[in-house]
């Protein structure tokens, strides 16, 4: 099943199950979504629940937050999270904080979803990875799925979760297909937040990644095995907030080495947070080498393919970081 179909199925199942769930965003109805994630939903659920909006992210984000405050469960699609910058005040000052500020009386169940991070050749203003931004806000839950199974189980969990959830998809993964377990095909399938998944067990080094970088990390693990007989353990974070620190700690205690991989900028990033958390945990004593971070380059992403190629992690760069953490000669 493709990632796109998995997301579509999750939306359809939750809308079927609960009449309070509706989807709103630019081009989600008539056009089936900018990336066709909402394909067929208008025909199936009608205009009342699949709503095209004028071009006003600040406006429809506010409307979704308002509808959630009134008890509905909106799913708000951004064409890309880069455009959610227009509505950041609604997401954070209104969405994330109202439950707390209302003295625990005013729940806000809204799911913000859409592609996040780099696609290919779309320049600085379409390529940013916002995991770390949202990951730093109390009141938000932040999901960054990798596979089709992740997408289905986690999106359903996000819609059911009574909080504000930021669901960060990746445009380059929409077309990719993954096998689905029988369990995952069920309409009851949900993946709880805060539980990372070991995508590949290994004993020599731990690679922690999320979203598309899980794929690159798995490729890096293959290269490490083939060329250097190194067994890397690859952990798919699945959620950025809550962050499954215990799983990373457990793995590091086994492998004694850690590399984090993300497409976000290095400063104050997901990798920085992982380093800090590991430093503060019992895994610190288990480390045989400093933690290595693989991140996007700290420049606004350039457009020209020949420049962009140098701005994001690749399997080769991950291998290089692993070799460094393994003290292997270049």
């Amino acid at each position: 099943m493709s990632v796109r179909d998995a997301l579509n199925t999750a939306l359809a199942e939750e809308m079927d199950k609960d009449d309070d769930v509706f989807i709103m965003g630019e081009e989600v109805a008539q056009y089936n979504g900018a990336y066709k994630v909402t394909r067929g939903l208008l025909d199936r659920f009608g205009e009342r629940r699949v709503i095209d909006t004028p071009i006003t992210e600040m406006g429809f984000t506010g409307i979704c937050v308002g509808a959630a405050l009134a008890g509905l469960k909106p799913v708000c699609e951004f064409m890309t999270f880069n455009f959610a910058m227009q509505s950041i005040d609604q997401i954070i000052n209104s969405g994330a904080k109202t439950y707390y500020m209302s003295g625990g009386t005013q729940v806000c169940n809204v799911t913000f979803r859409g592609p996040n991070g780099a696609a290919a050749g779309v320049g600085a203003q379409h390529s940013q990875d916002y995991s770390a931004w949202y990951g730093s806000i109390p009141g938000l839950k932040v999901v960054s799925p990798y596979s089709s199974e992740d997408c289905k189980g986690l999106l359903k969990a996000a819609i059911r979760d009574p909080n504000v959830t930021i669901f960060l998809e990746n445009e380059m993964l929409y077309n990719e297909t993954f096998p689905m377990s029988e369990e995952a095909m069920s309409t009851d399938f949900v993946i709880p937040f805060g539980q990372a998944k070991i995508e590949r067990p290994g004993s020599d080094i731990t690679i922690v990644a999320h979203s598309r970088n899980v794929e690159f990390s798995l490729k890096a693990a293959e290269i490490l095995k083939e060329k250097y007989n190194v067994e890397a353990e690859v952990i798919n974070l699945r959620t950025i907030k809550p962050l499954d620190v215990p799983s990373i700690v457990k793995s590091v205690k086994k492998t004694n080495r850690l590399v984090s991989v993300e497409s976000g900028f290095p400063a104050f990033g997901v990798g920085s947070e992982i380093c800090a958390q590991i430093m503060e945990s019992e895994a610190f004593d288990a480390l045989d080498a400093p933690v290595e971070r693989v991140t996007g380059a700290e420049v606004p992403t350039p457009y020209a393919k020949e420049l962009e190629d140098f701005a994001f992690p690749t399997p080769e760069i991950i291998v290089r970081a692993c070799k460094k953490a393994l003290y292997m000669e270049e």
């Binding site: 630019e26 900018a34 050749g121 700290e298 350039p302």
Partner: protein, 414 residues
């Protein structure tokens, strides 16, 4: 009975609407009863003037000049659309159907005027003096691109014509244009204005409100040039707003406003020119709503037949094309400033020139790799890299030195 009482000096006037008269009638202002704003047109689709006594400020030479820009733009669009389909370019946006809008409005601008564009305005850039080669270099993100290969195709920037970088997040250019206009008012009073191009769809963003309101209250010399082409990707304008287009909003902000026929080169030219006068001489912001039709798909990533009929598009192609409209006028026996022979010759030469520019742009080397790290901060006049950028650069240099053969370094300018 319609009693209106003017507040006299002895009564107090509410400060929020000092000139409002008092009425005993409970009447709502119902927009459905207001007259629909008319559309200013000089030249009909047939090539005849709507009013034969209309006095034009535009010269015959200028008309021919602008016509040539329109044909150049259209030829460029056709070639680049195909180039994208052939995979020679990642992305492109045409201005099909909107050639008059951008070319004629750009043509009235002067040296210090600042341009804040959305993306479908390559015609204005041509009219301001950007060359086809400049455009090509941007599209191919090569080392001669003024944006150093950092921006998506169509996201032009050019200091020489005061074209500010096109910003992907919609409508952000509106407040920017107002800010720049305010700066012009302070630094070059009554000499220059800024022009802000924006689509009718982007006018739904909050920035539209913020920009117009501040422009009016601060009396900024800015022209808000709205291209109303009927669509915002798949969203038809009737789903974008409920009022009388975008023009109806102008008076609400206290902004002088006009709706014009965007397929009429003469109307766009004369109206934008008059608007510039109001902005520059009187520091009054002006709103222009140019009505037109987006004949092409939104971009090369779009297939518009998923949401509109081919029949609808064909009707516009056949019955009202801004290029053929002005050509009909130019070739009228009584005007006679253009001919079939000139047309053929010009089209042929233009196509050849554009293809040549394309080849040059394709063959030009990519920007130097070291430029990935420059211009993030303007430290020491932009000459000095911050330590963390320097560190990244050194790491890259190391990798490149070590794995030279893996990278096609010959493709980049040294």
């Amino acid at each position: 009975m319609n009693v209106l009482i003017r507040l006299t000096k002895s009564t107090l006037a509410y400060p929020g609407a000092e000139k409002s008269l008092i009425t005993p009638q409970l009447v709502f202002n119902d927009p459905t009863t207001l007259p629909v704003i008319s559309t200013f047109r000089i030249l009909s689709p047939t090539g005849a003037l709507v009013d034969n006594n209309h006095s034009l400020t535009i010269t015959s030479e200028k008309i021919v000049d602008l016509y040539k820009h329109m044909v150049t733009l259209h030829t460029l669009d056709t070639i680049m659309y195909d180039a994208q389909r052939q995979g020679r370019l990642s992305f492109y946006m045409t201005s099909s159907g909107e050639e008059a809008v951008s070319v004629a409005s750009g043509a009235i601008l002067e040296k210090h005027d600042q341009i804040f564009a959305q993306y479908r305005e390559q015609g204005a850039f041509l009219a301001r003096g950007l060359s086809v080669q400049d455009i090509m270099n941007q599209l191919y993100a090569n080392s001669n691109d003024h944006g150093k290969g950092r921006n998506m195709p169509i996201h032009h920037v050019n200091k020489a014509i005061n074209l500010h970088p096109i910003s992907s997040p919609l409508a952000t250019q509106i407040p920017h244009a107002v800010g720049a206009a305010y700066a012009l008012k302070l630094t070059k009073p009554n000499q220059a204005c800024s022009i802000c191009y924006v689509g009718e769809g982007a006018c739904s963003e909050g920035d539209f409100h913020a920009g117009l309101n501040i422009a009016a209250t601060r009396e900024c010399p800015v022209i808000f040039f709205v291209r109303n082409n009927g669509y915002a990707i798949s969203t038809a304008s009737k789903e974008q707003y409920k009022g009388d287009g975008i023009a109806s909003r102008g008076p609400g902000y206290g902004i002088v406003t006009i709706r014009i026929d965007g397929n009429d080169l003469l109307a766009v030219y004369e109206a934008t020119k008059a608007a510039r006068d109001l902005a520059v001489k009187e520091n009054r912001p002006v709103l222009i709503e140019a009505m037109t039709y987006r004949r092409s798909h939104h971009s090369t990533s779009d297939d518009s037949f998923a949401y509109r009929s081919k029949h609808e598009v064909d009707a516009w192609k056949r019955h009202d094309n801004p290029i053929s409209r002005i050509r009909k006028y130019m070739q009228r026996p009584d005007i006679n400033i253009w001919s079939d022979e000139l047309e053929e010759k010009f089209r042929k030469a233009t196509k050849k020139d554009i293809l040549k520019c394309l080849q040059i742009a394709e063959r030009t080397k990519k920007p130097p790799l070291s430029e990935i790290f420059t211009d993030v901060y303007f430290d020491n006049g932009g000459k000095e890299l911050q330590p963390h950028l320097k560190e990244q650069k050194e790491e890259l240099d190391e990798i490149l030195a070590q794995y030279r053969s893996w990278y096609h370094l010959e493709d980049y300018k040294a």
